[in-house]
Subunit: 461 residues, 2 copies
């Protein structure tokens, strides 16, 4: 009997656990799976929290794909409220602390999966003298955070009127939408341009849309501190000399891999402080990692990047589980594909990207050509037609597609997958322009917008 | 000076004409372009006609991408109302008849592009003793057809109450939607299942949706004749012994390549009676063809197929024009990618396919495995989530993706492009399942529906 210990019971950990059991059943291995989870929740959608705050999702249970009870029914020996504190690779033991009792418990393992996720970045100024977050200042990471948000919005009188979002990335935009839809006046403060994973010209288009929706935006602005009321709650955000009144503050400054356990246990970390598993998700013999705590291979640059996304977490967990169960699977890297939207106050913009941005391409030493093409999501004579801007990036000499970015109306964003599949296969922009994609008047222009953009750049190269 | 003569001034012909001029300007060739068009219209969207009939499009001019005047401004010597009657390859002359005068005119050429399109199939029973279509019986191919449809619906009293659509393909469905949205009782009669380019189980899902919208459907049914009123207008459709009352009848039984000109001039035709150009779109030295009058290479089977679609017409025309102008371009085949929708009476279904159907795979001698997976267009907790069924087809031994079909709600259909790009590059279902596609709760499930379907089939293979 092999004992698999999984630390962390969200997407990556539980994908690994169940896939290991399924594969072991097929390969005839005897496997026992123990899982430790520090919260009381398992397998929940962190990505759904902004939509819960916005009111699209009724119950936190709706965000839970599988409850602890369900995991146990499926054969996982799951311990919730159990925080892993120490890893001893020689003795092959994880020591954990039980919530409530504070008792220390040792869990031995033959195989170990580290799926400890990531933690939101919390600057020192966000904490009070007791070390806790100042009241009204909240991250957006766990179901507990989601509950705290609903409590902040509806838990007491007076209701908050002004929200400040710190961070202009995916979570920042989604929370700006949530607070706007909940009737707050919203200011967004970001160190760079809005959506800095896009090129600045495309990020600027996003910013224009948010501004049109009534969001006040401060770009290239750092937050330096907070003011509090007599009762200790936040009252203002200090941003490069400006004081922004705030009843609630969203901390959306990104996340870092939660790798303290493994680092203290002697495992090496990468430049972003993530675990560095091989393509089978193994770090050292019998020790595996999956999800937001890992750095992953960027398929275009060959470098390690930190892309904390549920899609990768699920795939990495599945790969780890297959290999642990005696099968064979590899995780073949990522492209940085991502999508979000901002929808509120009569505007709707979809934002998507895949591959390298201009800055990333330059950093990788690639000679990149770019072009923005204005297209439409449907034939111009159809009511479904909405504008979309498509930026294509290609390598000048090889004509290889390097990246693509979309900012547009309803129906534009998911077209990014067309480019993602092309990138995955190493297509040139000429290949992309020639492909047989779907056309009918309600769905596309006769030269599909993504192809039109590729063709226009191909004509110039 | 080289004289290029283009016969047919819609998508393929005019793409070829303008691209030839652009390329010649770049390569320094001297090119004169003459174009003949039998109607008075150029570069119009035939695909948009059902939406014009339905009321989405206000004016036929909205369907015209470029008017005759615009083509002339751009340097094309365009003759409308000029029907090409004979091709003499030895003398390099096309003889045409001018509308109105009936005068015969000869047009010499150095290079010839045949872009004569396709013609709707019109059975003998649809014509009266004078050879003309029976009144109330109309195809859906030209702008003149579109005008006739609006006239049939709104041109006189009493307004038509009952419409019978003959044909269950793309145009049939779109016209069923148009007539339903115009308030008619609609019956659809088809020789096979609805949407016979899909597998029958997926076509059956489409049929169920149409039935739910109130369309009466007769599958596996042949039309054998029509009844007419005393005034000569259609009154009923005879379908395998059933008599269906009808005030208007849609002829949507498909199209055939319009290749009489070239065939009489000695050019070879394929099994579907289309021209057979090479991958540069050349048939014989200096004679080129593009668009619906051609058969094209299916990338998976390597066989010639007839896929009369504007996307191919535009690309083929562009390829022909590039080569005629002294550049180099190839048309690299098609996958049979297609999309449509049916929307009306509170239902909305999107229908898309790419690659081979089960029947096509079997006919090509491939050992095919298939699976239908029920998925969603967005995270299940989001209001945007709508169900979608995805059928994946793969070759058993090689695990190569062979085709994919989607029947689902809003936002499902255009995901077919993900599979189309994967097919274009020869991906396996394992490749498709592992790719980095875009996820956020309003746009996809964490395992994107198309990938989930590929993964499920991969697990079984």
């Amino acid at each position: 009997m092999t004992r698999l210990l999984v630390v962390g019971a969200d997407a990556a950990g539980m994908s690994a656990a169940h896939q290991a059991l399924r594969t072991a059943a097929r390969t005839g291995r005897h496997l026992e799976v123990v899982a430790l989870e520090q919260t009381g929740h398992t397998s929940y959608s962190a990505c759904g929290i902004p939509y819960w705050v916005a009111g699209d999702v009724d119950e936190p249970d709706d965000l839970v794909a599988r409850t602890p009870a369900r995991h146990r029914d499926l054969g996982i020996d799951l311990h919730t409220g159990m925080t892993a504190r120490a890893l001893d690779l020689d003795r092959r033991v994880v020591t954990a602390t039980a919530a409530g009792s504070g008792a220390e418990v040792e869990f031995g393992f033959d195989e170990l999966v580290l799926a400890t996720g990531s933690e939101p970045i919390v600057p020192a100024w966000a904490r009070g003298s007791d070390g806790a977050l100042i009241r009204g200042v909240l991250p957006v990471k766990t179901l507990t955070d989601g509950s705290a948000w609903l409590d902040a919005l509806f838990g007491g009188a007076p209701a908050p009127l002004r929200g400040v979002v710190i961070g202009g990335g995916y979570i920042g935009l989604e929370m700006a939408e949530a607070l706007l839809r909940r009737g707050l006046e919203v200011t967004l403060v970001t160190l760079d341009e809005v959506m800095a994973t896009l090129d600045p010209d495309m990020g600027g288009r996003v910013r224009d849309t948010l501004t049109a929706a009534g969001i006040k935006i401060l770009t290239d602005t750092a937050v330096t501190g907070l003011s509090t009321r007599a009762d200790g709650a936040v009252s203002a955000v200090h941003a490069d000399g400006v004081e922004l009144e705030a009843d609630v503050v969203v901390l959306a400054m990104g996340v870092t891999p939660a790798t303290a356990l493994g680092a203290a246990g002697g495992l090496p970390l990468g430049g972003r402080r993530g675990y560095l598993p091989d393509n089978r998700q193994q770090i050292v013999d019998g020790v595996w990692a999956a999800g937001d705590c890992c750095e992953i291979l960027h398929r275009i640059t060959g470098r390690r990047v930190h892309l904390p996304l549920g899609t990768h977490a699920n795939k990495e967990g599945r790969v780890a589980g297959t290999n642990i169960g005696g099968g064979h699977a590899t995780f073949d890297g990522a492209l940085g594909t991502a999508i979000t939207r901002f929808s509120g106050s009569g505007v709707h913009v979809e934002i998507a990207r895949t591959g390298l941005s201009s800055a990333e391409a330059a950093a990788a030493g690639l000679d990149v050509m770019t072009m923005v093409t204005e297209g439409r999501t449907a034939s111009s004579y159809m009511p479904e037609a909405s504008p979309m801007a498509t930026k294509v990036l290609a390598e000048r000499t090889s004509r290889r597609l390097l990246g693509l970015q979309i900012v547009g109306g309803p129906g534009s964003g998911k077209r990014i997958d067309t480019a993602a599949v092309a990138l995955w296969g190493g297509a040139s922009i000429d290949d992309l322009a020639g492909m047989d994609l779907a056309y009918a008047p309600p769905f596309a222009t006769v030269w599909e917008a993504v192809q039109l953009a590729a063709r226009r750049l191909a004509d110039r190269l």
